[in-house]
C-alpha cells in the first residue's frame, strides 16, 4: 500500500515538474534569443563607431553625411564591374547604360561560372556512385529533382515530362544565382556580384529560353506549320476580310513572341536588382533587426523569381508545341455545337 502511495506521489510530482521544466526551457530559449539580438545590436553599433562609412571612392575616415552618403556607400549600380577587359583599346565608358556592348569578363560572369562549377561538382559527386537506395547527397538531389518533376508534371501533365530537365536546370541555376547576392562577400568585392542582378546575364538566360521554346515549336510543327501561326495565309480561303484580320492578329502574335524574352529578362533583373538596392538601403539606414527581416523576405522573393522564370519557360514551350490547327478545330467544333444548340433552343453542354 505504502509503495503504491509513494509511486502515485512521485507521478504527481513528475507531472507538475514537467510543465515547469517546459516553461523553464521556453524561458531559456527566449533569454538566449534576446541576448543574441542585443549582441548583434552591440556589434553593429561598435562596427558603426570603429569603422564608420565613408563616401564611395573616398578613403576611410572621410566625412560621410547621413543618410545620402550612407546609402550611396552600399549601393551597387546596374553595370557590372569589368574583371578582364577583352578589348582594352576601347575602354568601357564610366557610368555606362544598363546594357553594355563591350567584350569583357565581368564580375557577374565570374560569379556565375563559380556557381556553375559548384553545381557541376556537387552533381558529379552525388551521381558518381549511384545506389538503388540513395544515401546522403544522392538522396538530397533525387528529392530535389523528383519534387521539381512532380511540380512540372502537375503543371503541364505528361506533355511536360520531356522538358523537366531544362525546367529543373533553369530553376536550380537561377535560384543559386539569386541567393548568391545574399552572401556578404558577393556584391561587396569588385570581382563578385549576384549574376541575375545584371541585365546582360538575364538577357542571356532569356535568349537561351527563347531559342529553346522556338526550336521546340519548329521541331514539332515544321517550319511551315509553326510559321503558319504567325502568318495564317490559309485564312484567305474564307475571304479577303477574314484573311486580313487573321494576318493582323498573326502579326501582333509575332510581335508578342519577341516580347517574351524581354519580359523574362526584365522581370528577373528588376526583381533581383531592386531587392539588392532595397537591402542595401535598409542596411545603410537601420541597425541589424530590420535588415535581417528584409533578408528573410529576399530569400523567399528570390526563390519565387527563380520559379517564375523556369515555370514560364515550361509554359511557353508547352504553348509552342501545342497544335495551332487543332486548337482552331476545337474552337470551330465548339462554335458549331453552340450554333446547333442555339437553333434547337438548348444550352450547349460543356465539353469536359
Amino acid at each position: 500500500m505504502s509503495s503504491d502511495r509513494a509511486a502515485a506521489a512521485a507521478e504527481t510530482e513528475e507531472s507538475t515538474r514537467a510543465p515547469e521544466s517546459e516553461a523553464a526551457g521556453r524561458r531559456r530559449v527566449l533569454r538566449n534569443l534576446g541576448l543574441l539580438i542585443v549582441a548583434v545590436l552591440v556589434l553593429d553599433a561598435l562596427a558603426l563607431l570603429l569603422v564608420p562609412p565613408f563616401p564611395r571612392g573616398g578613403q576611410p575616415g572621410d566625412e560621410c553625411t547621413f543618410p545620402v552618403c550612407f546609402i550611396n556607400g552600399t549601393l551597387e549600380f546596374p553595370p557590372p564591374h569589368v574583371v578582364v577587359d577583352l578589348d582594352p583599346s576601347h575602354p568601357m565608358p564610366e557610368g555606362a547604360a544598363v546594357i553594355t556592348f563591350h567584350p569583357s569578363i565581368t564580375s557577374t560572369i565570374v560569379t556565375m561560372w563559380l556557381i556553375m562549377a559548384i553545381l557541376i561538382v556537387v552533381a558529379f559527386l552525388a551521381t558518381r556512385v549511384m545506389r538503388l537506395v540513395p544515401r546522403s547527397l544522392q538522396n538530397v538531389l533525387e528529392f530535389a529533382y523528383e519534387s521539381l518533376e512532380n511540380f512540372g508534371v502537375g503543371l503541364g501533365g505528361d506533355a511536360a515530362r520531356p522538358y523537366i530537365p531544362l525546367f529543373a536546370a533553369f530553376f536550380i541555376l537561377i535560384l543559386f544565382c539569386n541567393w548568391s547576392g545574399l552572401i556578404p562577400p558577393i556584391g561587396k568585392l569588385d570581382e563578385l556580384r549576384a549574376p541575375t542582378s545584371d541585365l546582360n546575364i538575364t538577357i542571356g538566360l532569356a535568349l537561351v529560353s527563347f531559342t529553346f521554346f522556338e526550336f521546340q515549336g519548329f521541331r514539332r510543327h515544321g517550319i511551315g506549320g509553326y510559321l503558319g501561326k504567325f502568318f495564317p495565309v490559309y485564312e484567305f480561303r474564307n475571304g479577303i476580310g477574314a484573311g486580313a484580320i487573321a494576318m493582323f492578329v498573326g502579326l501582333i502574335e509575332l510581335m508578342l513572341e519577341f516580347v517574351k524574352p524581354v519580359t523574362l529578362s526584365m522581370r528577373l533583373f528588376g526583381n533581383i536588382y531592386g531587392g539588392e538596392v532595397a537591402l542595401a538601403a535598409v542596411t545603410a539606414l537601420f541597425l541589424a533587426i530590420l535588415p535581417v527581416a528584409m533578408y528573410g523576405l529576399e530569400v523567399i522573393l528570390n526563390f519565387v523569381q527563380a520559379l517564375i522564370f523556369s515555370v514560364l519557360t515550361l509554359i511557353f514551350t508547352l504553348l509552342a508545341i501545342e497544335s495551332h490547327e487543332h486548337e482552331e478545330d476545337e474552337a470551330g467544333t465548339e462554335g458549331a455545337t453552340a450554333m446547333r444548340a442555339a437553333t434547337a433552343g438548348q444550352t450547349p453542354s460543356p465539353a469536359h
Partner: protein, 86 residues
C-alpha cells in the same frame, strides 16, 4: 510497415503547387507584358517623332498601339493558358 500508395503525379501535393505556380507565373506575365509593350510602343513613337520632327504625334500613337497590343496579348495568353492548363 505499409508503404504509401503511389497514385501518380496528379495526387502529389507538389502537383497542386504546380498549378499554383503556373497561375503565379501567369499573373506576373500579365503585369509585365502590358508594361513592356506600352514602353516599346512609346519608345518607337518617340524615335519616329525625333526622325520626322512631329513630336508628340507618333508618341501618342505608339502609346495606344503598344497598350492595345499588350491588351490583345494578355487576352490571347489567358485564353490559351486556360485552354491548356484548366
Amino acid at each position: 510497415m505499409r508503404l504509401p500508395v503511389d497514385r501518380g503525379p496528379c495526387y502529389h501535393p507538389l502537383a497542386l503547387s504546380g498549378q499554383a505556380g503556373a497561375y503565379l507565373a501567369l499573373f506576373s506575365e500579365i503585369g509585365i507584358l502590358l508594361l513592356v509593350t506600352t514602353l516599346i510602343g512609346v519608345a518607337a513613337g518617340y524615335w519616329a517623332d525625333k526622325q520626322l520632327g512631329t513630336l508628340p504625334v507618333f508618341l501618342v500613337i505608339g502609346f495606344f498601339a503598344g497598350a492595345g497590343a499588350g491588351a490583345v496579348g494578355i487576352y490571347r495568353l489567358i485564353n490559351r493558358f486556360l485552354a491548356k492548363f484548366e
